[in-house]
Every structure is written in structure tokens, then in C-alpha cells.
């Protein structure tokens, strides 16, 4: 394995692991996460719950795909778009002067201010972009042990 390959795999696992770490607690506490979403005061009441129901599953699905190395470009692109949404939402909270917990990692917690969350999301955005540009999904077909995973491809 070359240094380039090791770095590529390391960044992919880091991004995947990060979103698994972020998504699983939200799946386990959707009500708490809905409270975090409601705190941004952007959506009608019911849609806070729709976001709380769907977004964590998107994070975890993409995280799993990145960790197992399947559909890496698509997963990285989805996370990149998701991160852009987060950045937009957090920026709006800063502009409106809302001092709220971002709800990024631990639902219902009080761990990260909007400014801290914005800086973190910008770093994650860069990481997702690097993983996206480095990804080469065609390599999947050269590994017979992974062929069963190809059935999940679109």
C-alpha cells in the first residue's frame, strides 16, 4: 500500500467514522434532536420532526458506505451537500443572534456554540471535498470479496 493510498483510506474512514459518531446518538434520541432543530426556528413545527427523523439516517448511511468503501463519491458528495445545509443553517442562527447548541453531535446537549459549530463544519466540508475528489469507485470491481456489496449499487 502506497502512502497516497493509506492517506486516502484514512481520510475516508475519518469522514465515515465522524458521521457515524454524529448520526447514531441522534437516531437513539430523535426527540432531543428535534428540540435542537426547533431551536433554529426555521421550520414549521412538524417538519422539525421530519428533519430529526431523516437527517441522522442520511449521516449514518453515508458513514457506513464510506467505512466499507462502497459508493464513496456519492456518499462524500451527499455529506458535502448536507454539510453545506448545516453551514447555512448555523450561519443564519449567528446572523439572528441565536445563542443555541448546534445539535451537531449530542442531541439535547449544550456542548457547541454556533461559531464553534461553523468552524467545525467548514473543516468537515474540506474533508468531504478531499474524499470526494480522491475517491475511485471503480476499484470495487477488482476485489471479488466485495462483489456481494455491488448489489446495493444503483
Amino acid at each position: 500500500m502506497t502512502a497516497g493510498n493509506a492517506s486516502r483510506i484514512g481520510l475516508r474512514l475519518l469522514l465515515g467514522g465522524l458521521f457515524l459518531y454524529a448520526g447514531v446518538p441522534k437516531i437513539l434520541d430523535p426527540v432531543g434532536f428535534a428540540g435542537n432543530v426547533a431551536a433554529y426556528r426555521l421550520l414549521p413545527y412538524f417538519y422539525d420532526y421530519v428533519v430529526a427523523a431523516v437527517f441522522p439516517w442520511l449521516e449514518v448511511t453515508c458513514g457506513i458506505l464510506l467505512v466499507i468503501g462502497l459508493r464513496v463519491r456519492a456518499a462524500a458528495m451527499l455529506l458535502l451537500l448536507l454539510d453545506l445545509v448545516f453551514i447555512g443553517v448555523i450561519s443564519s442562527a449567528i446572523v439572528r443572534g441565536l445563542d443555541i447548541d448546534c445539535g451537531c453531535f449530542r442531541p439535547g446537549g449544550g456542548s457547541a456554540s454556533p461559531w464553534m459549530a461553523l468552524g467545525r463544519d467548514l473543516l468537515i466540508l474540506c474533508l468531504a471535498a478531499v474524499v470526494f475528489w480522491q475517491a475511485d469507485d471503480s476499484g470495487m470491481r477488482r476485489h471479488p470479496a466485495r462483489w456481494p456489496l455491488l448489489m446495493f449499487r444503483s
Binding site: V31, R41, Y49, V50, A52
Partner: protein, 158 residues
């Protein structure tokens, strides 16, 4: 990419179908598929500023202040009842005598990082109150929005 997004959407909606159904109907929210239940399997519903103000304007809810009595005296949502988390034992008995179990309750404390409102709300649910909300923005958000507040040591029933 669309397949991944559709898959996540489908699984998320199916996994949280009970939560979404309850939220759609405006009921207190049952625990999601993997969430930790309270004794009754129901968690207090988080409430935003706009919904809290709607309840306030329509006089539909009894607002409960979970902060200590000193903070309550310095300023509170107009009409709120004091039920400090530290004095839940004796306070709850008096509260139960004057507020019917069928009442809609909104509990608040000092904002998003404060857990006292959730503690009091869960206790009220265990006491038998069926519809209990936690207004997570709490008094700081309410006051910053310029909504009605009161000061002094007594409950000011509206």
C-alpha cells in the same frame, strides 16, 4: 446518490413512524424506536418560541417555571407558576391541588442548556398530567423576544 438519499429517507420515516405520527397530531411524543423511554414510555414534547406564544395568547396552557424562587421573583413569563426542581416534593402536592390533570402544561427554565424543565416535565407526567411540553428556549428567549413578563414573589395568575 439519489438512491442513497431515498434509502435514508425511507428508513428514517419507517423507524420514526410513531414519533412522526404523534408530532403530526400534536400529541406528546412517544419515544422513538431506539430512544430511552420514561416510566410511561412518553417523553415531554419540545416546544418552540412561536408555539409557546400561541399557547400563551390563547390561554390554553399553564406555564410552569422550573427555576429557583429567586430567579422566579426576578422575572418570569407572565402568569407562570413556580415549581422549582429542588422543591418538587412539597411543590407538586400544592400544584396538583390547583391544576387539573387535564391541563396543558408548558415547563421552562433558563434555556437550551438547562435540563431542569425536562426533569420537572417528566415528574409531572408521572404524576398524571397527560399533555406536558418543555419550552426549551426558556425565560431568556421569551424575554429577548419582548413577550409579557412579570416580577415579584407571587404567582400572577392571568
Amino acid at each position: 446518490m439519489a438512491v442513497i438519499a431515498a434509502l435514508a429517507l425511507f428508513v428514517g420515516v419507517v423507524w420514526n413512524r410513531t414519533l412522526l405520527r404523534d408530532a403530526w397530531r400534536g400529541n406528546p411524543v412517544s419515544g422513538g424506536a431506539g430512544s430511552v423511554p420514561t416510566l410511561e414510555g412518553v417523553q415531554p414534547l419540545p416546544l418552540g418560541l412561536m408555539q409557546a406564544k400561541e399557547f400563551f395568547d390563547r390561554r390554553e396552557a399553564t406555564f410552569v417555571d422550573a427555576r429557583d424562587s429567586e430567579a422566579f421573583s426576578r422575572g418570569r413569563i407572565a402568569g407562570a407558576r413556580s415549581l422549582p426542581v429542588a422543591k418538587l416534593g412539597p411543590g407538586l402536592g400544592r400544584f396538583r391541588q390547583t391544576v387539573p390533570l387535564s391541563s396543558l402544561i408548558v415547563v421552562y427554565c433558563t434555556g437550551f442548556s438547562c435540563q431542569d424543565s425536562r426533569t420537572v416535565a417528566e415528574k409531572l407526567q408521572r404524576t398524571g398530567y397527560a399533555t406536558v411540553y418543555v419550552y426549551e428556549g426558556g425565560f431568556p428567549e421569551w424575554q429577548a423576544a419582548g413577550y409579557p413578563v412579570a416580577k415579584g414573589g407571587l404567582d400572577d395568575r392571568r
